[in-house]
Amino acid sequence: MGFVFSSETMVAHAYVGLAVVCLITLFMILWIVFLRIRLYLAQQRQARFREVWLPIFTETALNQNCHRKDADISVLKRRDFFLFMNCWLDFQESLSGHALIRMNGLARQFKLHVYARRLLQRGSMRQRLVAMVFLGDLRDRFSWPVLEELLSNENSLLSILAARALIKIDQERALPIVFAELVRREDWPEARVAVLLRSVLTAELATSSLFDALQNSTDSGAIKLLPYVDHMYNEEKNRILRILLERSNSDRLTSRILKRIQCGHELDLVRHYVGHSRWHIRMQALAALGRIGTREDISLLLERLGDGEWWVRYRAAQALIKMPGMTRRELQIIHDNLEDSFARTMLEQTLIEEGERQ
């Protein structure tokens, strides 16, 4: 009787397997060492670069007469171009006005816009992303056709950043196409788009294009555009919210509109939703009443204080406390007269929370 795996062939195979495993392990160890050395060298290079260039950036940004035309162009080596772009982006983030124009001048002096355009076409994914942000912040109009093409790229990261860059370059021209793309795309994550777009949108230019886009959109399109209405001027914002609320066939859209209502003109409309069959719509309507309601709404709120849904009762109690001229004594009387124990406990809890907040 023998052990099959004792055969010389199998043992030889085991040793070959072991050798392969050892070689792969060794390769990975060497890779780790390589990564470590590369990281160390990159950190050293970055530190040296920052030491030289941050004072130049500061001088450029602060000194009105300085365009650093005298800066020695050979100081910026080609291999440092990408590093320059990253540092430049970090630095100019907090700048505005003339300082920003001077920083743009500095970047253009080194022909970095040409380099970035090339990266945009042929770089790695990270390089393309950085190049896009860079060209956007540089307001590089020559990149417009490429960026517009990238806006419809199937890669959502590229397309979102293309949208941001286009808005930076020419907001008036970009917004209609960006909003159209936003409505069309299913892959643009709502939060990420909001984070990127909100930092560049201004009321002056966003208002009219957003108003038009919302007016012509479907319910699902309006849901996507709604997070940006806060960038509109108040009058137009309230008007479009009213239009959307009146024509909405989607509970989700209705709920989101109610969440944004701040204007007393919509009071009648809001009251209409306090008795809605969907609890989250009732809840948002009550929260809106807390913001814009009058003492006439007290009876409505008391009714909802006994709602079957906890959140609806909670918002009703909060709204009740916020009613104009409502005093602690009056609330205590309301509390004492409540027959529903759920409503009483909720008002009690909200009163304590409010008291602690004050």
């Binding site: 795996f5 950043l161 997070p227 304590i352 929370e353």
Partner: protein
């Protein structure tokens, strides 16, 4: 069947087992590597200027605590410092017999409130609900003892927000942890749960519940566990994400969609591994209902916890984990090879069952079989050594690959000396430590078969920071 045929079958069985086990791990490593690449690339965009918005979904953080007087204050303080637009912290005191409640009351100026508490999941009675006068977003539930799962269910009942995050009272979260985890929910509305990477805080410098500087411990047992955690989280979990077949989200830190969990029945209080059982059950119920969903994982180190530094505590921990795994799988058998099971039912579940749950039997069995064959002279010494070395070599390879993933991504341990130490530990752990862990797991497996009553896992610990 002759004796020789039996031996031949056993030989092939162990060989095939070893082959599939290591192939599975290598495959996971491979998918994890790609997933990590994609993740890091997508993360680059997040380093751009951010404006935090009302799109961040509010989160309820649930902290079950049982006899945590030593650590609870720092843990809660660290949670209150999290950077997130809207969140509440709910500490659930599970009938502690030490000063947990008093420490909380004193440290956070608690005041009893008449909260309208909704019982959606059945739990032990809640004695009182307190609110902090210092921190409006901190509440404490004082309830009768019922175990960790029962406490989490009570926390879910009291949670006001659509997402909840279960956190161990002895864990410490990274300030950005909620933002990192919530991104999965924002970017894919199908997401129902998201786990985070847990790292070990032993050897790190911590002040007031906040991690100041990472470091490595002097204790060898803790060092072994650091490499083990890297392996478990960097490819053991991440590798399953592209397949949407992740079966484990650590109880130390995980974010869940509350309504989905409530619909699934909440945490089971009669099991040891309530966290894993819930995730397996979510897969089973959501697949059966045909609802599109995603259970995902964030590789960033978002949660830090203390590792046991003595063998007795380590053994208890591993026995508990193994029992938890066994209970989670055995209570959800119907997921395996079911028509609607998909990759979790046809791949992840059998993998976990054969290689993780029953694995200790086959691994110990393999060692015994080999030594027995050598003892009776049917396996020569050279062959035995060759096979042992291959097994150990594979272990070293897998540990090294997780170190490589770490080096490619997060650089938690910045000093070169630390990387060198971890590399040597990755080799050393294969000579004794891993075999010992297999023995502990075997003991846990036997216990899960005997189904002894579950209880809170205790650990001898010092306050973090």
């Amino acid at each position: 069947m002759s004796q020789q045929q039996i031996i031949l079958c056993a030989e092939w069985f162990f060989f095939v087992y070893f082959f599939f086990l290591n192939s599975g791990y290598l495959l996971l490593n491979f998918t994890a590597s790609f997933r990590l690449g994609d993740y890091l690339e997508s993360r680059d965009i997040s380093t751009l200027p951010q404006v935090y918005t009302d799109l961040e979904v509010p989160i309820s953080i649930l902290v079950p605590a049982f006899n945590e007087a030593l650590t609870i204050e720092n843990s809660v303080r660290s949670l209150l410092q999290l950077r997130y637009s809207e969140f509440e912290v709910i500490v659930i005191n599970d009938g502690s017999s030490d000063e947990t409640m008093q420490v909380l009351a004193q440290a956070f100026r608690l005041k009893e409130i008449p909260e309208a508490y909704r019982v959606r999941l059945a739990t032990q009675p809640v004695r009182a609900i307190y609110r902090s006068l210092q921190h409006p977003n901190l509440r404490v539930l004082d309830k009768e003892n019922g175990g960790k799962a029962d406490s989490l269910n009570a926390g879910i009942n009291d949670a006001r927000y659509p997402l909840f995050c279960g956190v161990d009272a002895d864990s410490m979260l990274h300030p950005e942890s909620l933002r990192l985890l919530v991104r999965s929910f924002l970017e894919d509305p199908r997401t129902v749960a998201c786990g985070g990477t847990v790292r070990l805080a032993n050897g790190c410098e911590i002040k007031g519940g906040v991690l100041q500087r990472t470091g490595l411990p002097g204790n060898l047992l803790a060092l072994f566990q650091i490499v083990e955690y890297l392996r478990a989280f960097l490819f053991g979990r991440l590798g399953w994400v592209p397949l949407n077949a992740l079966l484990i989200i650590s109880g130390a830190f995980g974010l869940f969609h509350k309504e989905t969990v409530v619909r699934a029945g909440g945490y089971r209080s009669d099991v040891v591994g309530e966290d894993m059982e819930l995730v397996v059950r979510l897969h089973r119920t959501l697949r059966r209902e045909g609802r599109p969903y995603r259970i995902t994982f964030v590789p960033d180190p978002v949660c830090w916890t203390e590792a046991p530094v003595d063998l007795a505590t380590l053994k208890n921990q591993r026995v508990r984990w193994q029992r938890g795994l066994g209970e989670s799988l055995s209570l959800n058998w119907s997921l395996m090879f079911s028509r609607s099971g998909g990759l979790p039912g046809w791949f992840a579940f059998p993998f976990m069952m054969f290689f993780e749950w029953w694995g200790p039997i086959f691994e110990i069995g393999g060692y015994i079989f080999m030594f027995w064959a050598y003892a009776i002279g049917i396996l020569n010494f050279e062959a035995m050594i060759a096979f042992l070395l291959v097994a150990i070599g594979m272990g070293v390879l897998l540990s090294t690959s997780s170190l490589l993933l770490e080096e490619r991504s997060f650089h938690i341990y910045p000093k070169t000396g630390q990387t060198a130490l971890l590399l040597s530990v990755a080799i050393m752990e294969n000579f004794g430590y891993r075999q010992l862990m297999v023995l502990f797991r075997l003991y846990g497996l036997l216990q899960s078969l005997l189904r002894t009553k579950s209880r809170w896992g205790r650990m001898r610990r010092q306050a973090l920071g």
